[in-house]
Symmetry: C2
Subunit: 222 residues, 2 copies
């Protein structure tokens, strides 16, 4: 069975840059290619868009397949379509990026038989296709959005301390922030709720635990 067209059609895929914060680093999920071009190279999770499938649904499917998570932040990044980016046939990829909360990344990557792993953004292995470009653009976008939106909250677990949140900002921006200014700014955003609970976590004063007021929402600020 084949599908026939009067004019040549490109293949269309979605690839997803799945970010999380782990071990004090911004990491992306990569899968090792088991065959085809770039065999054994690391690549972004992705796959062909089904003929009746929405682009975002396709990206969500990739995300769920690789991480098991649903309901997380996912946004279209850019469409990459250089004619020779895939040596087999013309493949246009609609790239997305997703943010997986710190406490929701455990299940899959290890359990799966395939070679899957989280890599620090600043020390990636050689990637297949133009995936290095895609990751670079996604990281730029994330960095930019951090400055004028509440996107960073998408990384946070159910309850967290302000210190932890500040660390997330610092990891993504790659520079230290002033504690008092940081807290003042987040107070102004009015996006957190003090749970009243505390967490004792070492040889020091316990920290207040906060939750996100509207967990799904990414608000534009500034």
């Amino acid at each position: 069975m084949t599908y026939n067209y009067k004019f040549p059609h490109p293949a269309v895929t979605t690839d997803v840059v799945i970010f999380t914060i782990d071990e004090d680093s911004l990491k992306v999920l990569l899968v090792r290619r088991g065959h085809g071009p770039f065999e054994d190279r690391w690549a972004l999770p992705g796959g062909f868009v089904e003929i009746d499938e929405d682009l975002e649904s396709c990206a969500l499917r990739e995300l769920a397949e690789e991480t098991g998570v649903t309901g997380v932040f996912l946004e279209q990044l850019y469409t990459f379509g250089a004619p020779q980016r895939d040596p087999r046939e013309r493949v246009i990829t609609v790239a997305y990026y997703a943010l997986v909360p710190i406490d929701r990344l455990h299940p899959r990557p290890a359990s799966d038989a395939r070679d899957v792993g989280w890599f620090c953004c600043d020390s990636l292995p050689a990637l297949a296709f133009d995936h290095a470009d895609i990751v670079r653009m996604a990281q730029q976008r994330l960095c930019a959005k951090l400055q004028y939106s509440t996107i960073a909250l998408q990384f946070m677990p159910g309850r967290f301390t302000l210190g932890e949140l500040q660390r997330v900002y610092e990891i993504i921006l790659g520079e230290p922030l002033d504690k008092r200014n940081f807290r003042k700014r987040l107070r102004a955003y009015d996006c957190l709720v003090d749970t009243g609970q505390q967490r004792r976590n070492g040889n020091h004063r316990p920290a207040r635990l906060y939750t996100v007021k509207e967990p799904g929402a990414v608000r534009i600020v500034r």
Copy 2:
């Protein structure tokens, strides 16, 4: 002759939202569909991506075909791929938007036999497919970029007055701006050159003529 694939492939097009400023309005170029679905409806210029053609090249080709202009600002906007957006077959469109300088829009639209026209963004006719969504997003993007980049200069002819430039900002933003603050802001951007020339244009003092320092460049500011 047909092209055969083991799996169904979507068709891929680019559509271009071509903006210009004319008659004190922000306008977009539309073409009337001569056949197929949405016959006689107005639609964005666009067409299928050739199998060896870069996405941006395809958009540039559409742009040149409809307006005759080359070398103008063109940027990818978003990719629209809802499964039923085209009733014939699955069509994914990579939307671009382009900015055509005021003094370069004359040649084609009238000379062409086809039904082509410039329409005010705020009084568009019913559009084919999901093109109304595309135009809306393009207009939002333009409006946003106006605030933090020098994108507006892409609309300007070779030489222009600060009053004319301010009008462009006001038309796109849909609100009046303060003259002194506007000039101070542009001075700070340091993107204009005073030609030393003037233009007499009515019963009032002549205006200085400026040119853009780096005509191709769109700088991020603020």
